[in-house]
Amino acid sequence: MTATLEFHGVSKWYGQVSALTEVDLCCGPGVTGLVGQNGAGKSTLMKLAAGLLNPSTGEVSLCGERPTRRAARSVLGYCPDIDRFYEEMSGRNFVAWMLRLDGMTARAAKARAGEVLDELGLGEAMHRRIGGYSKGMRQRVKLAQALGKRPSVLLLDEPLTGLDPVARHEVTQVVRGIGQSGVCVLVSSHVLHELQNFADAGVALIHQGRLLAHGAVAELRAQMGERPHRLRLRSEHPRELASRLAALDVVASVSVGDDDVRIETRAVAGAFAELTRVGASARGLITELQPLDDDLEAVFGYLVS
């Protein structure tokens, strides 16, 4: 069975308020990032996938089953965005209890809870009360209860919130590993550059309840032909470089700084060929080339604007 999560024409209304409109999205194995501003509909999409909400129209399918069915939930791991727990429980007991509800025996659940908490860096604190945990530790407990059952489909709603940089890196590595093992992972976040680092199956950009785009960041950027690409070129001779670049047809605009030149181009492939030629013509003319807008943040900004 291939781990898949599919939305077909899914809309969701809360009374008169439309939270999602006609969303079509298909996620397969690997990590798919879900990007959007607050209120864009990310959490609603996640809750629909987890079977916590029913779509007003359209269909959601989780490994071929409706998410509200127990068969679908048995392959689902869900890390919600809320920071709520049974505060009096220890981290290990909470995760073990969740795994018990997932159908594990009491002994297996306890063993697996210890294992997954250890993997997430909570090995020493797992016996303490959750009420005494820091925000980052609570976040990891939430992740552990979702990862513990080894799900086929994993939904992570803002999983990096509250984590320090080291913990973010560790969690990112864990999630990336899970995605590479064939699990369908959908991760929502507003920390775009971090999402870009581990969303190997592409990103879905959502804005005001509508899915704007879905695919690899580079592909999405390449499709925006009408938007000029911006490049920054570091140079030991910026004025000379600027005058040469201004003469090129592929360069739409040039601006000069103290040690760099910024250009805009609509023909990015042709521009790279020309820049290679110019850079090779004189030593120190181009020492570094940095695309300024082919990252997720820029793509998202273009699409939203």
Binding site: A19, N38, A40, T44, K47, L52, R73, S74, P80, L101
Partner: protein, 270 residues
Amino acid sequence: MNPALTTLVLARQTVVRLLKSRMLWFLLLGVLGATAVFYFASRRLAHSMRGDTAFGTIAVAVYMQFVLPFGALYFGVNGLQGDIEDRTSVYLFSRPLSRTAMLLGKWLAAALVATVLVVFGLVLLHAALAARGTWRLNIGPPVSMLASFAHGTALAALAYAGLGVWFGAWLRRPLIFGIVFLSGWEGVIANAAQQASARALTVSDSLRRLLWHAHAPRDQYAEILLGPLRIEPDPEALDPSLAMLRFAAITVALGAWIYGRREYDARTAE
């Protein structure tokens, strides 16, 4: 997890949760306070009534008409709504569990906690009344009354807790509607309706009939069981135990139907 095990696990978790409820401790404090009051009042009561009459009257007035219905209803509502309100229900709702089994677990837990609380209060009351004074005609409160009160308490707790889980699954302000039901519907219909079929729609009528048949009450105890209109129990009416179980089954079924279709946090958009 199979539904039976889900029910047991959720019942256990709900009991643990309810044991931390302030309302339980408030009611327990009330029970202890009432016991102390009746301990000191028992000598005076003993001059004017028999022990069985005193015990029956107080047990019905304090426990059957107040602590039991309010406690069981509250625990039913709280058991069901507690994790919805604090949003920890997200962990349960996203797991492969039967919603009906979850609701059954919460219902049983609420009924169990209410039953234990009330029976504990009745035992204390009995001990307080039995320990003091020489009762009229030398008839103290018999221990056998405790058994029928415990029987009635357990059945009524199932019914009231059923009402609690139904209202908890259905209404936004279940406690307010519950209190309106208890003080309005139960109070008016059980006391004022002439037709037995109408009174059968209440729990308290069945509970009173059960106690009436079990104790053959007299004096004040008989008066409180008959109500202000002094309507004697209809011998043709459905067996009171079955009537309470029927009430519980209907309310729990309605609650399960609603709970099974309930969306998580559906009222809050992002």
